[in-house]
Symmetry: C2
Subunit: 399 residues, 2 copies
């Protein structure tokens, strides 16, 4: 009998995976997947870029590349990040296979079995899975509408002590909570963390997707602060601003951390796809991003608006939800003790789907919330889907 | 002070990495990189494929895909593997980010710190790094011209006992040794492993690249055997038969192992690039592989021939080398106790490079051999490069 490693023994095909699979049924109105709408993907821009490549660049695209990334792409992302105020003194940038790999690499270089990754509660499924895959415990800290609750964060850090190695945060258009940190909360957070021996992992896949340009100021990265009282690693992604199918993201960290992450990446996949890196480098260097972002912001704002109107119209009293300023998600809190899996089963039977709350609970238990993604559902299906889910909530209330 | 995880503490930017970096200097005749020649990459075929894609397929290429792979590509690789005799009863196939990730996933699901990965000696750098990255020890077993030496393998397995979880083998056109297992040795190996609790990881990136079609019969995978007396995982790769820049490979394993590997992959990078998977699926479904392989086989056979002739012409007595039947590599054994790093420095100063032997030693010590890759060096540079290296050997002999 072959015996699996201890980390493999801890891996389980989860209930959530099953639910996501069934939610992919094309006859269902699904608010489950945190994916861009396929109709919004810039296929025409990509055509133009590909067909403009020289034979020499095409051959570079088909060849191996350096582990830390295709040099022209590294240069372009750095320029882009500098435009957001990030300074590269003593900092390096690694191109990763999506934002997921950036999170995974930081997890690998910091976490031993029994260590703790402190996260917001709720938090991103992929990050929770990455932390757990290295044998770490995930401990969640609640949020309010302005971000993580500082007093509770400090309690948690005091309790977990030296075991707490990573503080994982998604400050902008949070997945799944749909909230955005206030400028004030970010300041309080940085003050509270002063001198702590913890690595803040700032995950920023949605920061560009504000609905109102007045909110742009909310999306200034922690990593852009002049004085950083604590170590900050920054994870970026092309998934929501270009294409998830390219599997490209990036990590910014001190040279010491970045070097360890690069060695880890070398043994994981040697390098990211040169082919998709060439396309992404051109996407940035040809300045295709700004206009494309305008299209996305308008489209997602419209979808969010329809979903919010529909929630107001159909949801029974006792149900509450967040009002996102950008991104992909609305987080719905059901009346006390209602189990979102019961609501899911009822809604699914009637043709609509979402992701249950426990998927995002760092402890994997709390299930009285649910996540609605408005990003990929056709505009004319959103109201109908919300009506089905509201009906499922009502029915569950009567049980 | 932030503290790294124990696996990160073990990571070191190696001497080999430094040597590979300097060997990439374009003014150097380099036999260092195990890469296809850029001039041989099928850029024209890829153009034709890309421009023939429907808008719908292009959008699928830009979107997320299932963790185990883009379904049309999974189906195409299965068909291709079935044509090599592999049977998928109770076996699953996962598309991976290159062959490197297939190795890494198997390492992750089997190895705990202190476990042992038994490998051939010499062995592939990337595999050694992957095994070590999970805290395992790598223990090498010598080979002769027909493959791993069975008596020594059994000694090693007896000594390492239950700690030995993986037996990693590259039976076809070995990297770096350039040898190929005889049919007889494969039979003896399977007999010797009967009933052992070890997972054989068969790595097959070069099997298609035989120089003489009579040698095709040597490349029948262990995984294609009717009766498999031991668990076999099979790793394949598109890097040497299509394009390394696509970062695509695959893993075939029992459904139980494949499921664990899929969960591990989910937390590492969520899925492989849909974009490059769409291209690879078309490369197979449009039957572009057979003709392209004919081109590659002829080109690499020519390069190997030039290199062998040059070795014979220039190397001093006391130097020996393997005669490859395919693949990318020739393994050179220097006269006793000669240090290949000394030869490297001398050769590099005169304009030629290779990879020193200790890079491939599972113990990281033995350094009296060196690897020559003939795959990416222009034909008209090979003789000159070998002359420089032979001169460096002579000079080192005289020291």
């Amino acid at each position: 009998m072959l015996s699996f490693s201890s980390s493999a023994l801890g891996m389980r095909s989860s209930e959530i995976r099953r639910l996501l699979k069934i939610a992919a049924d094309p006859s269902i109105i699904s608010f489950a997947g945190g994916t861009p709408a396929s109709s919004l993907l810039p296929a025409d821009i990509t055509d133009e870029i590909y067909n403009g490549l020289s034979d020499q660049t095409k051959r570079a695209a088909m060849q191996y590349g350096p582990t830390d990334g295709y040099p022209p792409l590294v240069a372009e992302i750095k320029k882009y990040m500098e435009s957001k105020g990030i300074n590269f003194d003593n900092q390096d940038l690694i191109v990763t296979a999506g934002g997921q790999q950036a999170i995974n690499l930081v997890a690998k270089v910091f976490l031993d079995p029994g260590d703790v990754a402190v996260t917001e509660s709720p938090s991103f499924i992929g990050a929770l899975a990455a932390f757990k895959s290295y044998g770490a415990d995930t401990v969640g800290v609640p949020m309010d509408n302005e971000g993580i609750i500082i007093s509770q964060l400090l309690d948690t850090l005091d309790k977990t002590g030296k075991k707490a190695k990573i503080l994982y945060l998604t400050p902008y258009f949070h997945n799944p909570a749909g909230i955005t940190y206030s400028v004030n909360r970010k300041r309080q957070l940085m003050d509270a963390l002063k001198g702590r021996d913890i690595c803040v992992l700032e995950d920023d896949p949605y920061g560009e997707l504000y609905f109102d340009s007045n909110d742009k100021k909310l999306t200034v990265p922690l990593k852009a602060a002049k004085d950083q009282p604590v170590q900050i690693c920054y994870a970026g992604s092309f998934a929501k601003i270009f294409s998830p199918g390219m599997r490209l993201g990036w990590l910014i960290a001190t040279s010491e951390i970045a070097d360890k992450c690069q060695l880890a990446k070398q043994s994981i996949d040697a390098c990211s796809s040169s082919f998709t890196q060439v396309l992404a480098a051109q996407f940035l260097s040809q300045n295709k991003l700004p206009a494309y972002l305008e299209t996305l912001r308008a489209a997602y704002a419209r979808r969010a608006g329809i979903m919010l109107d529909s929630l107001k119209k159909y949801m029974p009293e006792g149900v509450s939800w967040t009002t996102p300023k950008g991104g992909f998600y609305i987080w719905v809190t059901l009346p006390q003790n209602m189990d979102s899996t019961v609501v899911f089963n009822e809604a699914f039977a009637n043709g609509a789907a979402f992701v249950i709350g426990s998927a995002f609970d760092p402890a994997g238990i709390k299930n009285d919330c649910l996540r609605l993604a408005f990003s990929s559902t056709p505009e004319d299906k959103i109201e109908q889907g919300i009506r089905i889910i509201a009906e499922a909530v009502r029915k569950t209330m009567r049980k």
